[in-house]
């Protein structure tokens, strides 16, 4: 009678061991977003973007892993936007190729802003390199902080939503303005796929409203009653996350350990 119990307990433990590595993996972003893991290389099959916007409103939309190649003039402010999801860490790598015959050194910068046009810090990378007059190209880089799933409204932490990249020259001799340059840019997700350690969820991602606004003529009337969109059950249950897996596995382990512990207190089987 004891033997089958122990046997089934062992089976459970084995199942648990199998399930464990799957735990953290399940918590990551959807597979499509994980294509560009590790090195800043373009996703296979991603179409090259050959455009760039010139303002926040006209930024060209790209995605992580999609290479950008565009010709521009020295002095242009080039804008791209890409979507960020919770848990991702984005790395931006850009190369600017110069023509011959520049008159002096120039300093280039790649800046990143979130959907509310708040400046985002770079944790690594050459964000503002200077190219000498003889240089034929300059390489820029910026690694962003991990995108959080929730943050206080008063904080400027990176949140899911749109991110803007602005590439421009900040310092150069004036005669070099207007000269043609070639710009290569790649945004890649270098996160290890782990979900962020945050609880909470941003209800609406930081995607800017780009429609032309309307000026209201009067104070809006008292609002229509806000109905609770969620059912009782979904409001009460914690949202889906790796915590479900961890906790369930913990429960199974506890049960197995309980059975083992119970079995240990039995008299040893007679020979």
């Amino acid at each position: 009678m004891r033997t089958p119990l122990i046997r089934s307990g062992a089976a459970l433990a084995a199942a648990t061991a199998l399930a464990l590595p799957a735990g953290p993996a399940l918590a990551g972003p959807p597979p499509a977003a994980r294509d560009a893991l590790a090195a800043p290389t373009p996703s296979p099959g991603a179409a090259t973007v050959t455009k760039a916007g010139t303002s926040f409103l006209t930024a060209t939309a790209i995605t992580a892993g999609q290479p950008v190649q565009v010709g521009a003039s020295t002095g242009d402010h080039l804008y791209w936007s890409f979507p960020g999801h919770a848990g991702q860490i984005h790395e931006i790598a850009a190369t600017v190729g110069f023509p011959k015959g520049r008159t002096g050194a120039s300093t280039w910068t790649v800046e990143v802003f979130d959907g509310l046009r708040r400046r985002q810090a770079c944790t690594a990378g050459a964000q503002t390199p200077t190219a000498t007059a003889a240089a034929t190209s300059v390489t820029l880089g910026c690694t962003l902080r991990q995108v959080r799933s929730w943050a206080e409204p008063w904080s400027a932490d990176p949140l899911p939503g749109t991110y803007y990249v602005r590439l421009s020259v900040v310092d150069l001799p004036e005669p070099d303005l207007g000269l043609p340059v070639d710009v290569d840019l790649l945004v890649s997700d270098v996160g290890d796929g782990d979900a962020p350690a945050d609880d909470g969820e941003l209800r609406a991602p930081l995607v800017p409203n780009t429609k032309a606004g309307t000026v209201l003529t009067g104070e809006p009337a008292a609002a229509p009653a806000e109905e609770e969109g969620e059912s009782l059950l979904t409001g009460w249950l914690p949202e889906g996350s790796s915590r479900w897996i961890w906790t369930t596995v913990g429960g199974v382990l506890a049960a197995v350990a309980g059975v083992v512990g119970f079995a240990l207190t039995r008299r040893p089987r007679r020979p």
Binding site: S55, L116, R117, G161, G178, A212, E219, F262, L264, T265
Partner: protein, 414 residues
């Protein structure tokens, strides 16, 4: 967290009007110079125009205006009125447009300012952005009006207008003038050194006009104080702000909603190298709720700041204070709070920089469902948790086993 943000362009409505671009070509006497790949500037420009007309996107309405093309005399007064639209803005008849371009011969003066003003009229007014591509090789010989002032004045009018400039083998003076025109309108400046560069750049600009012309914000006029400030619905707005000026706006925010606002101030004129922008959200009584700030130094196009603020938190705060001067009548849960937004800047004009019209502001306002602070996690995560649960289970099993053994022993004895 498992669902990603929707793409920003998901719900873009189809615009009512097609993209409108006008090419403005300088045909003044200096275009005769043969210094681009051994060819004359005008022939390079003509070839570029032909290729652009051939590659024109179907929906784009293109017009061509020339300046200095007809008057051969020496009278500056007459020569400086010399600008004609040779292809009207509209669906382009390719053969006709090419024929019109082919007949151009370098002739007269360079009335850039007047040509820009006329080009803006050619493009008309409307809700979407218009683009002028100015191709010139020489400095304006007809100021006043100074073309840069004209560009700034056109940009300050209601319709969004962008002037991109292309210099053909430009010298220092031409470059400065074209840079000034481009900066004043948020356009770009290119020095074209070869026919290929010129063609490629004009094509790129015409394509860009098609891709981006719908992104034109609504014009609004901020006030000097909160009570009479314009009430804004979610969307993008544009305004002008002078040095050291404060511009106020109001946004109604209901409890359970989150206000998101961002502002960009464009540096459309020479300013001192250090600058900043401040966006503050205040309650109607002047109490600051949150601020967004950014500062910078050196060459840039816009300086931006943004903020988020949740209405729910403020309702609580008001309840705590207990004596809000104007308590909301009726259903307090649904009555919107009005949040005042004030935009201020820390730009310093260089000597000789004109203060009016103000620098362009772009204000984005959005009101979305607020994201409540998460409660403590109901579930756990991590190896420590597993070890703890396993130990607890083991301990429980041991205790249960010992108890059972003790109980069985006692039961047997009795």
């Amino acid at each position: 967290m498992l669902t990603g943000p929707a793409p920003a362009w998901a719900d873009e409505e189809t615009p009512a009007e097609p993209p409108r671009v006008e090419l403005v070509l300088d045909v003044s006497g200096s275009m005769r110079a043969r210094d681009i790949d051994g060819r004359s500037r005008i022939s390079v420009a003509q070839q570029a125009f032909n290729e652009v007309v051939d590659a024109l996107p179907e929906e784009t309405q293109l017009g061509i205006r020339v300046l200095g093309a007809t008057y051969k005399g020496k009278d500056k007064k007459v020569g400086c009125q010399d600008t004609q639209q040779i292809v009207p803005v509209g669906q382009v008849d390719r053969t006709q447009a090419k024929a019109a371009v082919a007949t151009l011969r370098p002739t007269g003066f360079t009335p850039v300012g007047l040509a820009l003003r006329s080009a803006a009229q050619d493009l008309g007014t409307g809700a979407t952005a218009r683009r002028i591509v100015l191709i010139t090789d020489g400095e304006d010989t007809c100021a006043p009006p100074d073309p840069c002032e004209v560009a700034r004045e056109l940009a300050a009018q209601g319709t969004k207008l962008v002037v991109d400039t292309l210099g053909l083998a430009p010298d220092d003076k031409v470059r400065r003038q074209l840079l000034c025109i481009a900066n004043a309108t948020g356009g770009t400046y290119t020095a074209a050194q070869s026919a290929d560069e010129l063609t490629g750049r004009i094509k790129q600009l015409v394509d860009r006009a098609r891709d981006t012309y719908t992104a034109a914000p609504a014009v609004v006029g901020g006030s000097a104080g909160c009570p009479d400030a314009p009430l804004l619905a979610p969307g993008v707005y544009t305004d002008r702000e002078q040095f050291s000026e404060h511009r106020w706006y109001r946004v109604p925010v209901r409890p359970g909603q989150e206000l998101r606002a961002s502002v960009s101030i464009a540096l459309d004129r020479p300013v001192n190298p250090d600058y900043g922008v401040l966006l503050r959200a205040t309650a109607p009584d002047g109490r600051e709720l949150v601020r967004g700030v950014d500062a910078g130094s050196g060459r840039t196009d816009v300086v931006s700041a943004g903020l988020r603020w949740s209405a729910a938190a403020d309702t609580d705060a008001d309840a705590d204070e207990g004596e809000t001067p104007s308590p909301a009548p009726g259903d307090a849960d649904a009555a919107p709070t009005t949040v005042c937004l004030v935009v201020s800047n820390a730009f310093a004009p260089r000597p000789g920089t004109r203060a009016t019209p103000g620098m362009p502001i772009e204000l984005t306002v959005d009101v979305v469902a607020s994201s409540p602070a998460p409660g403590g996690p109901d579930l756990g995560r991590g190896w420590v948790l597993l070890v703890l649960l396993t130990l607890a289970g083991l301990l429980t099993g041991l205790v249960a086993g010992l108890l059972t053994r003790w109980w069985v022993a006692t039961w047997r004895e009795n």
